[in-house]
Amino acid sequence: MALDKNGIAKRIAQEVQNGYYVNLGIGIPTLVANFVRDDLEVEFQSENGILGMGPFPFEGEEDADLINAGKQTITALPGASYFDSSLSFGMIRGKHVDLTILGAMEVAEDGDIANWKIPGKMVKGMGGAMDLVASAENIIVAMQHTNRAGESKLLKRCSLPITGVNCVKKIVTDLACIEITKEGFLLLERAPGVSVETIKKATAGTLIVPVDVPEMSL
């Protein structure tokens, strides 16, 4: 059965290692924080200017001056710090952030990503995504395997304006966990109950299928 959003987030949470500073994009990536193992030392950075981001506040404790990059009210954990946008992107550009998790509209088999613009239709802007994908050493994309029209989002080449080149390292979708390799999309794991055949059909780019493709353990 295909994963729901929480399932995708849960699988991605397994990629978070001890001592990681992690930047979470808007949408599914935000959910990842809920599934990171408690025994790991991890800090979440939000590019609008906080390190050590905590959960949403209790009702009545919201502070308009304390939000994340999704403009949601948040809290700060012990050891947190606030800083300006210039230093915040300094952390990102300077490779001090260990892992970036973000959504995408398309990913190409060479690691290109498109997630900021549909010409003539949707032009919200790239926000911090271009900085993140240009600098992060470790980028995981969280997304649905296909779009609403049922078309694959894992392509040979991106059809939409790209956000960055050769940058995505791993993709976790509702169907599979996939690594980007020089040869193309390497199928690492299937979502529970999802067949290799289903994943093949839903993938437009080159899919490399090893002899044994284990199910995710969630």
Binding site: D65, I67, Q72, M126, V165
Partner: protein, 232 residues
């Protein structure tokens, strides 16, 4: 001590006129100079080029200036929260230049500190790179990006003193800090204006040298865009 305090927003914005380039601080609705924006609406100036990370929402922040069609061009990184913005952009009434957020922040800081240009990897290989000089560093291509030029930078802080020193609160610091001193004139509105000497010199985020005029705002709605809570 060089006194920077003025009595009100009107005095603070003296000299702002149509067709100017204005930088405005804030991220979303967090840390925006509400009082100055209200005054810009009241002044009715038009043809503004606006450098600001976001464009507000339909009925608050820079959305108020968009409603009145006072803005000619927006230079931003993300403008997704504003339907009127999208309408004006798609109809061609509004020019829009979208810039990666880190580049936007650094181009403000570059203006602040007199760095005319710097290299960043953000945007290489994308539309953003068009027409820009590319140089490889350690085999990785980077774009040459230039400092912004603005007539006024208009920012908002939490506490300030009459010497123009500023302290921001939490994530409301955002673009307000790198925009300080990045325009020819920097105007700061603060929630609390104190006499010089009341702020700990060790805790000042932006020294007064970057600020030409400071005033205490009359009101701060501080609207929350996404009220998210944890159930008890």
């Amino acid at each position: 001590m060089i006194a920077k305090n003025v009595d009100n927003v009107k005095q603070a914005l003296e000299g702002v006129s149509s067709n100017m380039t204005l930088m405005l601080g804030g991220f979303g609705l967090c840390g925006i100079p509400e009082n100055a924006i209200a005054e810009l609406v009241r002044l009715g100036i038009s043809g503004i080029t606006c450098i600001s990370n976001n464009a507000g929402v339909d009925d608050f922040g820079l959305g108020l200036l968009l409603q009145k069609k006072q803005i000619k061009k927006m230079i931003s990184s993300y403008v997704g929260e504003n339907a009127e913005f999208e309408r004006q952009m798609l109809s061609g009434e509004l020019e829009v230049e979208l810039i990666p957020q880190g580049t936007l922040a650094e181009r403000c800081r570059a203006a602040q500190v007199g760095i005319p240009a710097f290299y960043t990897p953000a945007g290489y290989g994308t539309e953003v790179a068009e027409g820009k000089e590319v140089l490889d560093f350690k085999g990785k291509p980077h774009l040459l990006e230039h400092a912004f030029e603005a007539d006024f930078s208009i920012i908002k802080a939490w506490k300030g003193d009459t010497a123009g020193n500023l302290i921001f609160k939490a994530t409301a610091r955002n673009f307000n800090a790198p925009m300080a001193g990045a325009g020819k004139v920097c105007v700061a509105e603060v929630e609390e204006l104190l006499p010089a000497g009341q702020l700990d010199p060790n805790q000042i985020h932006i020294p007064g040298i970057f600020v030409q005029r400071i005033f205490q705002g009359k009101f701060f709605e501080k609207r929350i865009e996404q009220r998210t809570i944890t159930q008890k």
